[in-house]
């Protein structure tokens, strides 16, 4: 354990002195060290990979704050935990955001049911009339409870594209409900 820690510290010292091979080795070892830590806390392998990349970039940016005179692991775990918290915060914010979107749709839906007699069935019908991709996204997100990120993985799009498509779909649905 101590030998391993000493090895990290030595590699970092060499890296700070400009040794690119040592730096590459250090980043490889760090990535091996952090992968199980992240895998334990995140559900998807792709999430682990994304976050690991972010952490490696953060280590690169913050490497001047490590002098090689104190243990390496607490330093690297502090960065990893910080980025993990950021990631989880964004993830939950995303969940809340979509929950808001859904409740907005539901509110509109209820108003319209009383005012213009549009039923849940007709809403489902309207969803089916949307372009195929938008309809699939709404079904996955609101009937099956997937997050935007999970939908993105499932249908092979990127997360922002899924969000954009979902927003467009909400807009179309709102317009149709208002008529």
């Amino acid at each position: 354990m101590t030998d391993n820690s000493d090895n990290f510290a030595t590699l970092m010292k060499q890296a700070l002195a400009g040794d690119q091979r040592a730096y590459s080795e250090l980043l490889q070892d760090t990535s091996r060290l952090l992968r199980p830590f992240l895998a334990k806390r995140l559900s998807f392998t792709s999430e682990v990979d994304d976050l690991l990349q972010e952490i490696l970039i953060s280590i690169h940016k913050a490497r001047h704050t490590y002098d090689g005179k104190r243990p390496y692991k607490p330093w690297v775990y502090a960065i990893a935990r910080f980025r993990l918290q950021d990631h989880l915060r964004a993830h939950y914010a995303d969940h809340l955001h979509h929950a808001d979107d859904l409740s907005e749709i539901e509110e509109t839906l209820q108003q319209d049911v009383t005012e213009s007699a549009i039923s849940y069935e007709s809403i489902s019908g309207e969803v089916e009339k949307l372009p195929e991709k938008q309809a699939t996204i709404l079904r996955l997100m609101h009937q099956e409870g997937y997050t935007a990120r999970e939908v993105a993985e499932k249908i092979g799009m990127n997360e922002s594209a899924v969000k954009v498509a979902a927003h467009r779909a909400y807009k179309i649905l709102r317009q149709k409900l208002e008529k």
Binding site: A15, L16, A17, G18, D19, Q20, R21, Y23, S24, L27, Q28, S31, D49, L52, Q53, L56, I57, S58, H60, K61, A62, R63, H64, T65, Y66, D67, G68, R70, P71, P74, W75, Y77, A78, I79, R81, F82
Partner: protein, 211 residues
């Protein structure tokens, strides 16, 4: 996995010689030295309170000034530690401002009890808070500027403590410049606004210390 290997290769290629950051103790000493210089210049411009020599014979005034200096030292050290992702593995030392502020509150309590009968408060009020804030702007900008070069993983605390360090410099300046004996005035308009300043600092930390 392939992406990670690719990224590591790219980062390793960027791995040039890097000078490690100063030790946080040294960093805080630099900030304290800058604060002393700034305070000296401010006092040279504004002048010292005319009754300073008399006040220096009053134990509670001396203890108040000494504790305020302690707050500047503790907040500077804590802000320097908070600039490092792992607090330079001196987590307990980073809590030093809590002790300094607790001590300061105690000193103010005793000073308030000793101010009997209470001294007449000055006519002005919020002007003191504004003067302290104005004087604290430059140290605050300086500390945030330096902290941004580091990698804080505690944005809120870093920002709050940095602002308190800067505001304490302003508070010390006003205590050595303004001729007032009213402890109530000093507590109300010099020191209590520190709470708001700390909160403002937390927000600034969140905005300015991202990396």
């Amino acid at each position: 996995m392939a992406n990670i290997d690719e990224l590591i290769n790219k980062l390793a290629r960027d791995g040039t010689v890097i000078k490690p950051a100063h030790h946080p103790v040294l960093l805080s000493l630099e900030w304290i030295a800058a604060a002393v210089f700034y305070l000296a210049v401010a006092l040279m411009i504004s002048g010292l309170r005319t009754d300073l020599m008399v006040k220096l014979h009053e134990p509670w005034f001396v203890v108040e000034i000494a504790t305020l200096v302690g707050i500047i030292a503790a907040t500077s050290l804590s802000a320097a530690l908070l600039s490092f992702p792992d607090l330079h593995q001196m987590r307990r030392v980073a809590l030093a401002p809590a002790i300094a502020f607790a001590l300061f509150a105690l000193v103010m309590l005793f000073a308030w009890r000793a101010d009997n009968p209470p001294s007449q408060p000055p006519i002005h009020s919020v002007e003191c808070t504004l003067s302290i804030t104005m004087l604290a702007i430059l140290p605050a900008v300086w500390i945030f500027f330096v902290m941004r070069k580091f990698a804080s993983t505690h944005h809120y605390w870093s920002g709050g403590i940095a602002m308190l360090a800067a505001f304490s410099v302003g508070a010390l300046w006003l205590r050595l410049y303004e001729q007032t004996d009213s402890i109530m005035h000093v507590i109300e308009w010099h020191y209590l606004p520190m709470i708001l300043i700390g909160l403002l600092g937390m927000w600034l930390g969140k905005v300015l210390l991202k990396w």
